[in-house]
């Protein structure tokens, strides 16, 4: 294992200096482009952040060696590159809060661990409140966080908020006057591409095959087990198979002959503006009456922001205009100073919306198939813990305590993980 790992040099300040003098010609490709082998011990379908992280933790934590990650397109080309890069752990329900706090702790050391700068910036996540009821509700959730291992949960009064974020519309004529905020200080943003590349490079250094342009077209079963996967690059045998293809989980599930899932595929849009000088220091979240708006500023200067789902089921990675309007209106209602900022790009990603707004990391009706799905629109921040717990599940063939209620049967038990209490309607989560 060590021999494989040493094959690539670690990045260092000296590398940056040396390549600066020789016209950046000294960099080598960061991961191999291998031909698929006929057989692996473990095959992960889906080369997104969750799939790559799973492969990496299988090698690192569980010393597994024969692993392949199959990606239909190219890594970082799906939802890995379509999110708004927000990382936080402000969850309320048991299970969810431990899971996301673990994820945040993995984020805090990720750049060092991967020897790859994922540009994780703990710049605070500020949820604006507009009524005493909203403050009370957030205080309940954030007090719970403080009591259960997330020490940085805080409530800001109006004076603090005005001092920290002076440019919001605090005027008496605001449609939804701001009266305070719930804040998580260790939350922030990361560079999404770098996370995909960092995990890919680290996984590759353990000898894991990352196979791109490799679409699964069929699943060969023998009784209650998967024998092999038919792909666009030939048949690949596997002892154990993990699905991590959020957005398209139902299609793969159907291909495996397993029927239906408590999941609908919806689309979520994201936006980026022209680059501006530094303005938005934190992640700011606004949500009133079903409208959602969240905004941060990338290191390149673009404002990165998003809103709610488009509202109807869709596999098209293409957004619709009413949401563009509602997001622009939400932006103007709290930050009128953005009125003349030009939109650079907007796009959409297909997401697994589950029946309670929470994820699945669990065993399946097939002995050697494991499922990682249902990330709704919170998959980015979950990536490290998702990979960690999914690797733990695949390696040990039993769910860790933290994900005990992240299985497919929780609805039958009446144990939905419904953070917002919306009920079994995916478009509302």
């Amino acid at each position: 294992m060590q021999a494989v790992r040493n094959r690539k040099s670690r990045f260092s300040a000296w590398d940056v200096f040396r390549n600066g003098l020789n016209g950046q010609r000294g960099w080598r490709r960061q991961w191999r482009d291998p031909e698929p082998k006929q057989r692996y011990d473990i095959v992960i379908v889906g080369g997104g952040l969750h799939g790559l992280a799973t492969a990496y933790y299988l090698a690192k934590e569980h010393k597994r060696k024969s692993i392949a990650v199959l990606e239909r397109g190219w890594i970082g080309g799906g939802n890995a590159g379509r999110n708004t890069t927000i990382v936080r752990s402000n969850y309320f329900l048991p299970g969810n809060r431990e899971f996301y706090e673990h994820s945040l702790r993995l984020w805090e050391n990720l750049s060092h661990e991967l020897n790859y700068n994922v540009m994780f910036s703990q710049r605070s996540h500020v949820t604006l409140c507009h009524s005493p009821g909203a403050i009370a509700g957030m205080a309940r959730a954030y007090n719970t966080m403080r009591r259960t291992g997330t020490p940085d949960a805080d409530i800001w009064d109006l004076a603090t908020l005005k001092r920290e974020i002076p440019y919001l519309d605090y005027g008496p004529t605001a449609r939804f006057p701001i009266i305070g905020a719930a804040v998580q200080k260790r939350a922030g943003t990361a560079r999404h591409d770098a996370v995909a590349w960092g995990y890919a490079r680290a996984a590759d250094s353990y000898g894991i095959d990352i196979i791109q342009n490799c679409e699964v077209t069929g699943i060969v079963r023998q009784g209650g087990k998967i024998v092999s996967l038919e792909t666009s690059r030939g048949s690949i045998g596997a002892e154990r198979v993990g699905f991590a293809v959020a957005g398209n989980t139902s299609r793969l599930w159907d291909m495996a002959g397993l029927g239906q899932l408590p999941i609908e595929t919806h689309k979520l849009q994201a936006f980026v503006s022209e680059p501006l000088k530094p303005l938005v220091d934190q992640v700011i979240v606004f949500g009133v009456g079903g409208t959602q708006f969240y905004i941060s500023q990338s290191d390149k200067g673009g404002l990165v922001f998003g809103g709610s789902l488009d509202g109807y089921k869709s596999y098209a990675q293409r957004g619709n205009l009413p949401v563009v309007q509602s997001v622009a209106e939400a932006a103007m209602s709290i930050m009128p100073n953005l009125g003349r900022v030009k939109l650079l790009r907007h796009w959409a990603g297909a997401v697994d919306m589950s029946m309670d707004g929470s994820h699945f990391i669990c065993k399946t009706p097939l002995d050697n198939l494991y499922l990682n799905a249902g990330w709704n629109y919170g998959g980015f921040k979950a990536s490290p813990a998702s990979g960690w717990y999914f690797a733990d599940l695949i390696a040990n063939d039993r769910p860790h305590n933290v994900i005990a209620n992240a299985d497919l049967h929780r609805f039958e038990r009446g144990a939905a993980n419904d953070e917002h209490g919306h009920g079994a309607d995916p478009k509302l989560h």
Partner: protein, 94 residues
């Protein structure tokens, strides 16, 4: 913008409508076994292609409609009233 041809109001932007969900779901009788209710409430076919779904014309005639739409392209193939009696009445009038 998706344009839905409401049988009562004519073609309108989807902004006038509220999306219901999978129109192929049939709820079992009240006394049915829990498993049948679980299937109806929680499980979805989640079709990538043409599916039947419900929309309500909330900012128009308020009728619930059954729409055949492609979830990959958003193309709409057919629109009809979701309630069989409303559909029958509409057909009788034509």
């Amino acid at each position: 913008m998706i344009r839905i041809d409401c049988p009562f109001c004519g073609p309108r932007d989807h902004l006038e409508f509220a999306y219901g969900g999978d129109g192929s779901i049939v709820h079992p009788p009240l006394g049915a076994p829990p498993q049948e209710w679980y299937d109806a409430v929680f499980l979805r076919r989640n079709i990538a292609g043409v599916q039947k779904e419900t929309w309500q014309h909330v900012h128009g005639c308020r009728t619930w409609l059954l729409v055949e739409r492609n979830t990959l392209t958003h193309e709409i193939h057919s629109v009809e009233p979701a309630h069989p009696a409303v559909k029958a009445a509409l057909e009788a009038r034509q």
